[in-house]
């Protein structure tokens, strides 16, 4: 691979997310060849994929089902929940994009999650656990609560996202000096 060739995997992801918009794929390749970094190119791919996941109804449904399954695993089987926690962390990170658009919704979501798992946490016999296990247990429960509430909130989020759109830009910052 030469320095002027876009990373193959990122290029494939961009083609997938661009949804047959050849002009957009060409624009990104042109920018990369004219000196943009690999990090920039990967960033474009990641943001496009994220937007597509929120925008596409089928992908959104798949994500919802995945969150539900992973949450069940996390709550039900302690032994397999280490993988589940990693996945849930991924979902939490993905939802970070919502922070800029729907701050109140996310704060409510997290607050409700913590409120749901706190009584469970206080009743658990964490004294017999090792330090690492105790921390891991706490993270797992909070994230599981987040996942459950997240699934319950999906119809509300879809309604709100539908109004502004996942690609909606934040308000402009006018520069008076330029």
């Amino acid at each position: 691979m030469t320095p002027h060739t876009p990373p193959r995997l990122a290029a494939a992801l961009i083609r997938l997310a661009a949804n047959a918009n050849d002009a957009l794929v060409g624009d990104l390749e042109e920018q990369f060849r004219s000196g943009r970094s690999r990090r920039w190119y990967w960033g474009q791919a990641a943001r496009m994929l994220m937007a597509r996941c929120v925008d596409d109804q089928r992908l959104r449904l798949l994500m919802t089902i995945a969150v539900l399954l992973v949450t069940s695993l996390s709550v039900g089987w302690w032994g397999t929940s280490r993988l589940a926690v990693l996945l849930l962390l991924g979902f939490t990170f993905t939802s970070w994009r919502l922070w800029r658009l729907h701050r109140t919704t996310l704060v409510l979501l997290y607050a409700t999650s913590v409120a749901l798992v706190l009584p469970n946490w206080m009743m658990a016999d964490t004294l017999v656990m090792s330090g690492g296990d105790r921390l891991f247990w706490a993270i797992a429960r909070v994230l599981a609560g987040y996942g459950v509430v997240g699934v319950l909130m999906v119809p509300f989020l879809i309604l709100r996202l539908g109004r502004s759109g996942p690609l909606a830009e934040p308000p402009i910052a006018l520069s008076l000096t330029r």
Partner: protein, 110 residues
């Protein structure tokens, strides 16, 4: 259904297309917004807004020739229609009306 108002991002895009002129396509529009507007934008967001504007008859698009530096893909050039120009002027007028007569904005640069 015709749209009555432009969003701030749509207005920025229309102004950038007008500033760039005949060679307005994704990259040149993004560069114009970056240099003049002082903000970076996601190329996909530009296309999403342009598609919306085209659906509303505010811009038209046409394809150029494929070039090797674009991996054999053609550029999609955009032009603002008379309807788009009218929408920009109306938005400008309403902004100017909103701007005028605000005491806090008079007599200082802060």
């Amino acid at each position: 259904m015709d749209r009555q108002f432009l969003t701030d991002f749509e207005l920025i895009i229309l102004l950038a297309v007008l500033r760039v002129g005949d060679s307005a396509y994704g990259v040149s529009i993004a560069n114009e917004i970056e240099q003049t507007g002082g903000r970076t934008v996601l190329l996909a967001a530009i296309y999403t807004a342009l598609d919306r504007l085209e659906d509303n008859g505010l811009v038209t698009s046409s394809y150029g020739d494929p070039t090797p530096e674009r991996g054999g893909r053609a550029k999609r050039f955009f032009k603002v229609t008379p309807k788009g120009l009218k929408a920009v002027k109306e938005t400008q007028r309403s902004f100017v009306s909103l701007w005028s007569g605000i005491p806090q904005l008079k007599g200082g640069t802060a």
